[in-house]
Amino acid sequence: MKKLKGVAASRGICIGPAFQFLRTELNTEKKEISDPEAEITRLDAAIQTAKDQIQSIYEKALTESSEADAEIFQAHKMILDDPELMTTIKNRIRDEKINCEYSVYETAKQFAATMAAMEDEYFAARAADIMDVANRLLRVLMNVADSPTAGLKEPSIILADDLTPSDTVLLDKSKVMGFCIAHGSATSHTAILARGLGLPAVAGAGVDVMDVPTGDLLIVDGTNGIAVIEPDADTESQYRKRMETSKSIQAEALKFAKDKAATTDGVELEIVSNIGNVEDAKFAVENGAEGVGLLRTEFLYLERSALPTEEEQYEAYKAILEVFGKHPVVLRTLDVGGDKEIPYLNLDKEMNPFLGERALRLCLNRPDIFKPQLRAALRAGVGHNLKIMFPMVATLCCVRSAMVVVNECKAELKKEGIPFADDAEIGIMVEIPSAAVIADQLAKEVDFFSIGTNDLSQYTMAADRTNPKVAELSNAFQPAVLRLIKMVIDAAHAEHKWVGMCGELAGEPLAAPILVGLGLDEFSMSPPFIPLVKQIIRNLNAEEMVDLAKGALQLESPDDVKDFVKKEVSFINEVIS
């Protein structure tokens, strides 16, 4: 038995076999060869195998998803059949006496560059297709398994260095029980993915994670940030018991998920969800979300090679808004920079990306990005309860500049005779300490606030939330952060504006009593947390929580705060396991 200590990235416990998610680097080094014809025979065989693979994926896609989705694989087959591409690859092998791996890679890159240079989204996508096909061919040539998850046959716990967004697309979610990641933190991509799926995850568990063989029994305790490798019988049975308890509590809470969250003294709170796409939207509704407190729009911009068009965004937003009908949906405008990179925007490398040209700062400098998004949002909002929210606001000036662009978009749409949601509320995220400090001034300019506790904590504490060594400091239970939250809520209420919270703290059972006491109006969280938080709120007395919050703000550390809540609200100990 071996214990690894990491960061609690997503709550819950799972017990199951480990699965190493290994990315194989494809070696395309240039080698001289003596027999080009033998090399070409090898290439032809690989092309045939690749075609067979694509054909079976195509057929699978046809039965499992739509014809439109399957069509991409037809395009891949045509690329493999392309005489221009294949003749060039073969000619290079013959003329330069080089290995096929090098010729395939270099030639494909050259064709892809021609496509990408055509400055049109359609061609840019074809460039990605060419590289996809080339990589498949290379994997066949080098006898590398089709994907890092090819061996994932039974439900397992995924072990990896860290996962990228494209890795997670490959994962068959029905076979994932949880995650244990060597690097990363509670706010890394894997952690967000895990919370979205309601799966336990430990991050920053150290490089030892990489040595656990696939198939070893593993316990992931995402609540406490602990992974146990090959547990002894005692430990395993203790964890199994905890798992059962938490499962039954969760199941019980789920039964009442769709009911309102009102405190025992009748204060009704709005419980909404953080989502990133239309699938999340449906999952959120099933878990009792009364709307969306944070629609992350980055999904439209990632995993592609050019900006999404206004039309594309309009369709995507419309699809999500329709899931929620008349319920509120808060759309956050593009939040890139920081730890979220988008290669085709060609942004300069920055020394401190978290303190750089991020989110709204970038959008204000790039109307070509900002305007199509605002127009698409305003158009999609017709007939729905859309609200627009700007991330990374530090000053009054940046809110006013953003409002100017919103009004420009509205004027344009009006002139073009295109209907739009003229009355959509406009708000800001409060995640920079300066915004919290001048919340009284900002409250006069906007319709609402939403507190982003992940960034607010890391900026307040000057501790990088992605660095496991200081990630603990960047904790929203820090009394300093809680005091800022109080300032923000009080300032908004003085102007009769509402305040939500879309950071992780909103879905934290131990934080709920404090936040109710501080007067938070809206709680937005990953869908799986909703039933439990609602259940907790139904058992709280709002009046009493005002005093509890006052007390919590006078404490000295995050642990003190948590212990205090556990002591004052004793039933909470039963629901957190």
């Binding site: 045509m78 690329i79 392309d82 005489p83 064709f111 359609y122 061609f123 074809r126």
Partner: protein, 95 residues
């Protein structure tokens, strides 16, 4: 050698599904087939192999552009006529 001139009238031009259909049709014939069009930007004639999807796509044929289909081989007459008809019929889509 057989030659046919046609104007591409469908909405997307020789892209996406129409381009795929064009290349798939061309690939059924034994003749060597190429497509050329005038590139207004560089003011020169550009030619691509009709059986190459990447070649056809990079030609950049949009709605309203005239293309010349040249077929050379045993089934050249049939090839040129079939491809020209495909374009004239807007690839079976509405224009």
């Amino acid at each position: 050698m057989k030659e046919a001139k046609v104007v591409v009238n469908n909405k997307v031009g020789l892209h996406a599904r129409p381009a795929a259909l064009f290349v798939q049709t061309a690939s059924k014939f034994k003749s060597e087939i190429n497509v050329s069009c005038h590139d207004p930007k560089e003011d020169k004639l550009r030619t691509a192999n009709a059986k190459s999807i990447l070649g056809i796509l990079t030609l950049g044929v949009f709605q309203g552009i005239e293309i010349t289909i040249k077929a050379d081989g045993e089934d050249e007459a049939d090839a040129a006529a079939t491809l020209a008809d495909l374009v004239k019929n807007n690839f079976g889509e509405e224009a």
